[in-house]
Structures are given as C-alpha cells and as structure tokens.
C-alpha cells in the first residue's frame, strides 16, 4: 500500500510540473527521463523479476515504433488507433522470441545473445524493404493535434508518457504482490526448484516477455510520435537495448522504484557531463558505460541497495561455482 501511495504521489507531482514549469528544455528532460523509466521498467520486468537478461530489447521497441509509423503512413490510420496495434504486436514478437528461446531452454548468456540476434535480424529486414522506408527511415506527417497523438505543447507529451510509465509501474507492483509475480521470481531464483514445485516455467516466462515486449512497444510508439521519425538504427540498433537495461541496473533491478531512480540518476549525470564536456561525440555514452561497470563492481544492487539493509553479496571466491 505504501508503494501505491508513493506511486500516486509521484504521479501527482509529475502531473503538476507543467503548471509551474514552462521551459521547453526542462520539460523535455522530464519527458525523456520518464521515457527512459518506461523502457527500464519494461526490461526490469523480464530481467529483474524473471532473471532473463535481454541484450536486444530494441526488437520490441522497434516493432512498436515501426507499427505506429507504417500504419499511419502506409494505411492512413490514426495514431491512437495504431497504439493498441503496436502494443499487441510488441507482445506478439515477445511471444515469438520467448517461445523459441524458452522452449529450447536458452538461459543466461545464451538468452542475451539470441535476443541480440533477433534485434539484428529485424534491423536488417527494416533496412532492406521499401515498405518500412529501408535505410532512409520513415517520417510521419506533422499535424500537431491531440487527436493525432501529437501535441503543440510538450505538456501533452508529458501526460502521455507519464501515463505509460505509471501503467508500467502498476504492472510491476502487481508482479511484486501477485501469485503470478511470485512464480516469476521463484523462476529467477531457482528455475529447477520452481519447476519441481509445480510452476509452469515455460508459460510464466512467456507471459513475462510478452508484458515486457508490450511495454517496450508502447515506448516505441511514443518515440515515433515525439520525434516524428524512425529509422532502422534508432529502432533496432543497440542503443535502445542498452538504454533499457542501464536504468534498472543503476537504480536497482527487481525493485519497483529502481528503474525510476536509475533513469533520473542517469539523466542528471548526462546533463552534468554535457555541461562539463560539451556535446562532444561519445562522451555521454562513455560515462554511461563507465557507470555500468562501476555499478556492477561496487553497487550490484543499484542505488536502491544503499537504502535497504540486506547483507552484501558474497565475495567472488566464495560465491563462484565451478
């Protein structure tokens, strides 16, 4: 209950921001932070709660982004109508990747690799066919009306991404407190034991990757609407996959607020390095990579681990299994 109240408080504060802040620059930072939190929460559901580390979450993001763009540009759909279609297809791609990899028992590094390969396959396909605009990418027509999921002011986008992020957080909250979530976490902690206790491992993992894929796809739709443009590298390249996993790792995997905390911390850091080093190419990503290494080395439970007092992880010598 305390968590739900905290979420509600967070939602109210964020929703009030446009009343006091009118600077487009500041609103943009908040929007991009919420957007990163959404991607992070999607990844967190599969990795933090399900123990399945995906390195190719772009495959779901890109599918959402392209479905939105293709339906609008090629078929004249309204963007709001394209949203559920994109989310459904994101879940469907999740089902495809999940069914194949979980049916054949891929785990750990192998699962990470196969998701990466799927993202590459989709990138090459979208880069090849005229239907998706090939290498040039796709531009969606600019209309600037709320009825078309394009807003004249940034506040409109802020409300949409806030709603998406809150939905993702509610799903995560449900995972923490439901029977299904308990099954999922049991699989993360010990797949064999979970199976022995009667958990249908395959179906539970499949559900998790579909939820995760659907939320990622919603992030993809938002991206397309916010930037009016999508291309194969943005949609299916490694950038999005890394962005999705960075936040939860920095903030704290397998927790409700970790991805929000991580997204905020990373955006603060990003703005800080930008003001210190200027817009030189590579600098912000370099700091992100550095943060990833440092977090895993010194704070494997994320920022949130600083506040909850569980025992520190065992030393490598003791924990390392042959």
């Amino acid at each position: 209950m305390k968590e739900l109240l905290a979420l509600m408080g967070f939602g109210i504060v964020m929703a009030a921001v446009p009343l006091f802040v009118s600077s487009g620059f500041a609103l943009n930072i908040i929007i991009m932070t919420l957007y990163a939190a959404l991607l992070g929460q999607a990844w967190n559901i599969l990795a933090g709660f399900g123990g399945q580390f995906s390195f190719g979450h772009a495959v779901f993001f890109g599918t959402g982004a392209y479905v939105a763009a293709v339906l609008q540009v090629r078929f004249g759909w309204n963007a709001w109508a394209a949203l559920p279609a994109a989310v459904a297809l994101g879940a469907a791609v999740g089902a495809l990747v999940g069914a194949l990899s979980f049916r054949y028992g891929l785990r750990g590094s192998y699962f990470a690799l196969v998701t990466l390969a799927f993202a590459e396959v989709f990138r090459i396909l979208s880069n090849t066919f005229e239907f998706t605009g090939a290498g040039v990418g796709m531009m969606i027509p600019l209309t600037e009306s709320a009825a078309d999921f394009q807003f004249a002011s940034r506040a409109g986008f802020l409300y949409v991404i806030l709603a998406f992020t809150l939905i993702a957080c509610l799903v995560t909250w449900w995972l923490k407190h439901s029977r299904y979530g308990a099954w999922l976490q049991a699989i993360r902690d010990n797949e064999e034991s979970a199976a022995a206790l009667g958990v249908n491992v395959f179906r539970v993992k499949l559900g998790a990757i579909m939820i995760s894929g659907a939320l990622m796809a919603a992030g993809g739709v938002f991206y397309t609407q916010y930037f009016h443009y999508i291309d194969p590298h943005i949609a299916y390249g490694p950038g999005v996959s890394v962005e999705a996993l960075l936040g939860p790792i920095v903030g704290g995997m397998g927790t409700l607020f970790g991805p929000l905390l991580g997204a905020a911390a990373l955006h603060l850091l990003g703005e800080l390095t930008r003001s210190l080093m200027g817009d030189a190419p590579g600098v912000s990503l370099m700091t992100y990579g550095l943060v990833l290494v440092l977090m895993v080395t010194f704070l494997p439970r994320g920022i949130i681990g600083l506040f909850s007092g569980r025992a520190a992880p065992a030393k490598p010598e003791e924990a390392r299994r042959a």
Partner: protein, 290 residues
Amino acid sequence: MLELSILFPSILNGLTTGAVYALIALGLTLIYGVLHIINFAHGALLMIALYGVFFLHQKLGLDPYASLLVMVPAMFALGYLLQRFVIWRASHGKDENILLVTLGLAIVLENLALYVWRSDTRTIETAYTFSTVNILGAMISVPKVAAFAGALAVGAALLLLLAKTDLGRAIRAIAKERHGAKLVGIDVEHVFAMSFGIGLACLGAAACFLLPSYYVSPQVGNGFVLIAFTIVVLGGMGSFAGALAGGFIIGVVESVGGLWLGESLGQIGIFLIFIAVLLFRPQGLFGARA
C-alpha cells in the same frame, strides 16, 4: 543457378574472409571455454587493436605484418590486466555480472574511440593492398591470402600451446574442473587472466591481418562481434577446430548470400544460422552435448 565462374571466386573470397573471422572467434572461444564467460567487449577490443596497427603504420611506418611483434604482446598484456583487475573484481561470481561488465567495457571503449579519433573511417595503404594472386582462375587479394595462412598458423599454435605446455594443461584442467584444479595448486586467477590475455592476443593478430584489406572506425567491432559469436556457437563453445571450421562456413555463407540477396540482406543468413544453432543445436557442430 549461378554461373560457376562467379560462384567459385565468391566461395574462395568467403573462405579468406572466414579465416579472419576464425581468428577473432578463436580468442572468443578460448575465453569462453576456460572462463565460461561471454566477452561482449570482444568487438570493441578488436577495434582498439586495429587502431593500434593503424597508428603503428602511420606514425612509425611499421608494416602491418611487422606490427604482429608489437600488437600480439600488447594485446596480451591488456587482456591479462583487464581480466585480473577489472572483470574478475566486478563479477562477484555471477555470470550476468560478467556479461554486463564486458558490455559496459565495450560501450566505454567504443565511445572513447569516438571521442578521441572521431567517427572517420581510416585505411592504410601498403604496396600489396591491391595486388592479387590467381588461384585456379579466381583473383584473390594478397592480404586475404596472408590472413588465411595466418589464421591457420595461429590456430595450430593455440592447439600446440594447449596440448604441450604446462600452461595449456592448467587451462584444460580449469576448463574441466575449476575446484579440482585449485585443489591441486593451480593459481586459478592467474590462469584465467592468462587465458583472457591469449584470447586478446588472437585479436591482436587478427587486427594485423585484417587492416591491409579493411578499415578502422570506432564502430568497426560491432560488425564482427555477432559474427564471432555465431562462429563460436556454430563450432561449439570452447572448440578450436569448431571455431576454424565455423569461421570458414560463415565466411562462405556471407559471401555467397551477398551474391544472391545483395549486400544488405546477405548478412541475414548469418543471424538466422545463429538463431537456429542456438535453438536446435546449442552444443554446436563439434561440441559434445553437456
């Protein structure tokens, strides 16, 4: 059906490209076989090695093949230090952590290169860059033939090292039974770092053989990293013969696939093979089922 006169050179070209892939994959498979970790930074480290060869040629006028004498030991040292002081410490004994740390390393190296050297694509020119040899009517470039020979030599050297030396015996012991190896007095941490170093030394060699016919840019490693994973998985994780054979197979698939489907779509064959092998035969063509 394609004309044989087109297909044959394409296959030969694929074999020579595959040799370089095999060299890269040899390092990756050694690291996997011993440490049971997947080194996501492999592509980025290859990129660093390629810059090394490039600057040795540009600043000191060193021939890329002479750079072997510098790059192989330099990359070995880098690998030893990285494993001993960064990756091992960060891992906390969990495989996921190693995945994440090597991913983080890859991001840092790639963007550091982008920051320092910008995204320019750089090539070197040597007297033999554009010379070709005639092999049964097919014209194959000399650097690629050299790479082919180099890959076989490095593969043979690795096999000898593993079979005949004390270090090789220690590596094999650890790959089989980590705790047992420790009990009989093998310094596991040292051998891990040696293995990682040797794996990167292979990258150093690969860079020297690659640059005369290729280019270097901060993102150059990305193209290789998934290909190298594919080869390692195809050949069976930890198998040297598998990595060599897998390299040749993937080289030919890419070359012939490109001929059929065009440059962009041709690469898709590699990833489809990768996914299929991971799903249906994860032990690879040459690996034994665990």
